[in-house]
């Protein structure tokens, strides 16, 4: 867990989503600025201590804050725990790293974050809870029921190679209660390129097998199916007001993280 947390902190420090802070006056706890009192300001708004140091009257303003909640879920199916090259991390490792780094960025922005159906809390202390929950999450592709709550955004990270119907139901349901969110598809380069030829027996991790005599001839159709799956997910996300992005494990995780942070910005 410390390794994951350290890597996620490093990653989160390197990524600055920029537009997240609402740097203007509003209802919040933090001090924002003093401004001269104008017509219409109620008397109790005057900060007398500040006003006594000069002739004019000053009003103490607070920064406007919109604390929000977000839930993150990393798919844990057997297919995620796979990499095409020992030099690359497995898809699950990469997904957890991105998920935790996203959580850290959101915490930095003062938001409340949770893994799955847990209670979303804000603050630095929540980071360790996030890391622990991420590593302890079960091998399910979709978050447990109860994760979906109004005004709480949901981030799903996974490979989405399985049956798309449950994902679609979940996104529909979220759209119904006006919960926004994002889908990030993490794939290995092997899965995107399909560099096989000859007689091959493909076996799904912990699942069925598919045998072929000429894998090279299957490449085009495999890539077409993958493209179709991405199109389907993208349309589905768009219809629900969600965002859909892809990431491959050979690329630096900062790109995907930046995209996610921007997609979640209000």
């Amino acid at each position: 867990m410390p390794e994951l947390l350290l890597a996620a902190e490093r990653l989160a420090a390197a990524v600055d989503p920029g537009a997240h802070g609402l740097r203007r006056a509003g209802s919040g706890d933090e001090f924002w600025q003093y401004r001269p009192a104008t017509e219409g300001d109620p008397a109790q708004a005057i900060d007398w201590r500040r006003s006594a140091r000069s002739d004019a009257a000053f009003v103490r303003e607070r920064e406007r804050q919109t604390p929000q909640a977000a839930a993150i879920w990393v798919a844990g199916g057997p297919g995620m725990d796979w990499t095409g090259d020992p030099a690359r991390p497995t898809k699950a490792d990469r997904a957890r790293l991105i998920g935790l780094a996203l959580g850290l960025i959101l915490l930095r922005g003062g938001e409340r974050v949770a893994i799955g159906a847990a209670d979303a809390r804000a603050g630095r202390m929540q980071a360790e809870t996030l890391a622990r929950d991420l590593l302890a999450a079960g091998p399910a592709d979709l978050p447990p029921p109860g994760t979906l709550r109004p005004q709480r955004r949901l981030v799903l990270i996974g490979d989405f190679l399985g049956d798309p119907a449950p994902v679609e139901r979940l996104v529909h349901e979220a759209a119904g209660i006006a919960a926004g969110g994002a889908l990030l598809q993490v794939l290995d380069p092997i899965e995107e390129a399909f560099p096989f030829s000859g007689a091959v027996r493909f076996r799904q991790p912990g699942g069925d097998a598919h045998q072929t005599r000429n894998a090279g001839a299957l490449r085009d159709r495999y890539l077409a199916r993958l493209e179709a799956r991405r199109g389907q997910l993208s349309r589905m996300a768009e219809a629900a007001g969600w965002h859909f992005g892809t990431h491959d494990t050979a690329a630096p995780p900062a790109q995907a993280l930046l995209w996610l942070a921007k997609a979640l910005a209000p």
């Binding site: 190679l161 390129a193 076996r203 072929t212």
Partner: protein, 646 residues
Amino acid sequence: MMMLGPLGFAAPWVLAAGIGLPVLWFLLRAVPPRAREVVFPGTQLLFGLADPTPVTQRTPWWLLALRLGAVAAAILALAGPVWRPGPQIGGSGPLLVMIDAGWAAAPGWQETQARAAQAVEQAQAQGRPVALWLADGQGGRGDGPFFAEAGTAEAALRAAAPQPWETRYPVDPARFLSGAPKRLDTLWLADGAEHVHRPALLAALAARGSVMVVPPSRILRALSLTGGAQPALTLSASAPGDLPAILAMGPDPQGVPRQLARLTPPPPTAGPGGVTATLPIDLPPELRNRVTRFVLEGEASAGAVVLADDRVRRRKVALVGDARATEGQALLSPLHYLREALAPSADLVEGSLADVLPAAPDVIALVDAAPGAQAEALAQWVAEGGTLIRFAGPRMAAMQDLGADPLLPVRLRPGGRAAGGALSWGAPRGIAPFAGDGLFAGLSIPAEVMVRAQLLPEPDPDLPARTLAQLTDGTPLVTRAAMGEGQLVLVHSSANAEWSNLALTGLFIQMLDRLVQSARVDDRAETEATAAAGAPHWQPQLVLDGLGRPQPPGDLAPVPAAAFAEGPSPVAPAGLYAAGERRAALNAGGPVTPATWPGAVVESSGAAPGTALGGWLLALAALALAADALGSAIIAGSRRPRRGAA
């Protein structure tokens, strides 16, 4: 043997298996390579996809060619291919394979055996009866060749070995061939040297049919020893060429056998037939006495080994006398005679006893003097193996305590006796003939030798056993006794011409040589046991085999002196023999005269017996199969997907 150009096949019918190759081609084509298994999460996207072209995947053509090549190479290899097989022996009748099996055949024995085996195999293929005759002079196989199935000859051939004596042919060719067929062809595997009875045998065989002679492919070399005052090694070779070095082998000071010296022979001189080079043995005496044999470097034959015997060992003799007597008149000094007698055959050291004892001589000759103060050191030196030879003389006769001197083989009476003088009764005495089994056996006694004075021993039961030589009246002239590991010898007369004229004769030199050479004979204890009555027998101590390797003698019978004198033979193989205290070696090597072969076909030495390709082809087939396994692994075995463009 079937011939295809320069390629011969020993078993051509195996080639028929090549018909099966096309069938194999079809079978191999039909079997596809095994599918490799790949773990791939994207498999879910593949479900339901059918192969676009449902054609069976063929084995790659290069893999197919590799497998067919391997099988073809194996078939060819089993057919026994020979590249440029050796010349075929003419004729079709009985075949006599004659093998020279003396020491001269030993260096090339492997080739000889292989050539003979090839000939026997050929004869077997042609159904010819074969007889094998080993010209090693040993009986036991009847008078002549025995023709039978080739298998019998093959077994005899495998058991044959070169012998440590010269090649010997049957004495009477007519008797040798009396039981043989009228027509027979001969393959003669010669050792390259001339031997007795060979021309007659060759003529007799040529009269019966064709004779093909296979000379050895290498130069025949032999080593022999010339004895004498300065022993020399003679290196003989059948043809000019570089002479190998001569290695002197023997135990080092720790007793471990090793190479003691390496002698480079001088440039050879052309002699009758071959070339010879003579190399005098010039080694320090300490080294020379340790040498047990000389061998020609790189020559594995009994003829290339010279076993060192008493002739080679050069003794270090210390002469100790009274210095006063040597002043002035040299011819009166006893040391002068000893010096003249021993100088050619031994290394001499002179001085007082205290001077010579640290030089560790083999023999000390103490002339007409008493040990004096060095008596104890001298006694210890004798007990450790030294030989002390004392000569009597006037001063010794005058000694008061002569009877108590411990360094004498017998107890002496003081005074001595004189015979033939003006005041004596008797005439000077001659020397009695030496005992046939004694140290001086065989030496001839000149008639003019007379002894005028001598020292007499006290009567003693041991006296006859200790006497080596005696005068005609039975009184001892030379006595000897063992002391510790060494021996004490006393010559009861003087070493100069004062008491006898023995020192003026050649007998004196011969007797001294025998005495000096008897020094440090290790197994002196056996002396009495082996010295049988009558003519001496030589007891083998160590024999060589045909390849020049020393072997224990086993149950070889003692060799009579007459047979021993004839040189190495089946009853007396080359080796080291002992008779009494003398050790003599029978060395097989001698002058080498190249043989000539009138009326016979001589196979040129360049004609190799053909290169058998079978082993190489089998290796090639194995290599191809290994490459096939590797190729199959590349195609199907690896589970790891190939690195693709991500």
